[in-house]
Symmetry: C2
Subunit: 205 residues, 2 copies
DNA sequence: GGCTGTCGAACGACCGTTCGTTCGCCACCT
DNA sequence: AGGTGGCGAACGAACGGTCGTTCGACAGCC
């Protein structure tokens, strides 16, 4: 029996020829540096040493390239986050791990993460909506850890779940703005320090 | 005795004709919605009901318009922040007030704040540097509050000043991304909840 | 000999900016 | 009061260039 038709979201992202992959990486880098609208097909072509028109042997449109970068970025965060959420450990430990994973992911793929955060709003309505779903799913994961922690009596029962989740995400999502590769602190140390602050707070005990 | 020549930074930002001000507001709105590179002079002109070329009776260039929006945004944050830093009150109170002021400013001028945060990187080197100085000054203000709190024994002596400051800024700077006018919570409530979390932490005492 | 990948020319649209011109308004002069 | 000259604001055409995209031709490889 022939295999069932794959769901759209499970389709291989594209025929992964080496050239095509190179184009994806160049797009991530250029879009992150110059922005989507600030990057022309000429810039892309120059980066690969090609003519503008030749790019269309590999892609359907510039927009498709943006979606690919953004969507891959979203998937990476989701995948690593899921692992942290499903750990068998106290909420504090899982929160710590999620922050570490988040920042590791952001730094490992700094270009894609920057595009994911800054340029996704330039996608057309329908594609933007499909990214929004993944964003919501991710935020829900953070919320569930906080909720678990409160239920277990580890976190303060009067803590505001939504705001705690937003604080976690903002810490992670703002890191790309100041992090520069080669600094003294690695992703793990950065994630741990943020988690420490979030969990224990500034005030003396 | 004639008044001393004004310092450059004190000069009125531009001849503030009503039309010119209107153009500034339209630029803030369009740049925040479509991005700097995604906004054409045609978009601007349409917003005012003018021809593309007529805009140049009021401005020198599109870039000048971007700088104006970004620079005014920076000044607003600095001004309100300074007031909080110089309060005669414990560090925790001043931190709370700075966060509230920050979020009030961001929400009151949501367009300009969005442009300030997202589009400043498209300024040419020299103008970008002059904004960077203001950003650094602002971050230093936050750091000084945390340092004071530690010295006074209110904040934990092992708190990481840089990371605490970054957490405060990221909370404030990420708000524009999810805040939508008309929600149930005002800027004051939002700032207070973030401050509460930052100061007391998630963990039970 | 077909398939893949590239070239390079061309498409129409739009880019930011310049410019000569017009037009209404207001201060000033007689 | 009536004339006049200057001025700010806007028009609309035009500038050279770039935009994203299409396409026929062709080279090299399996």
């Amino acid at each position: 029996m022939a295999p069932v038709a794959e769901k759209l979201t499970d389709l291989p992202r594209s025929a992964p020829s080496p050239r095509r992959a190179e184009l994806g990486r160049a797009a991530a880098r250029l879009f992150s540096e110059r922005g989507y609208h600030g990057t022309s097909m000429q810039h892309l072509a120059d980066a690969l040493g090609l003519q503008r028109g030749s790019l269309y042997a590999h892609i359907g449109s510039k927009q498709e390239l943006l979606f690919e970068v953004v969507d891959e970025g979203a998937d990476r965060f989701l995948e690593r986050g899921r692992a942290a959420v499903h750990m068998a450990a106290p909420a504090a430990t899982r929160l710590r791990q999620l922050l570490i994973s988040h920042i590791e992911t952001a730094i490992e793929h700094l270009d894609a993460a920057t595009v994911f955060l800054n340029e996704w709003r330039y996608l057309p309505e329908d594609l933007r909506a499909s990214i929004q779903i993944k964003r919501d799913r991710y935020e829900e994961m953070v919320r569930s850890i906080v909720t678990d922690g409160i239920a277990a009596g580890d976190f303060r029962s009067d803590a505001d779940v939504s705001f705690a989740a937003r604080l976690v995400l903002s810490a992670g999502n703002w890191t790309y703005a100041w992090y520069r590769p080669g600094g003294e602190l690695g992703p793990k140390e950065i994630g741990e320090r943020f988690a420490e602050l979030l969990i224990r707070g500034l005030e003396v005990a």
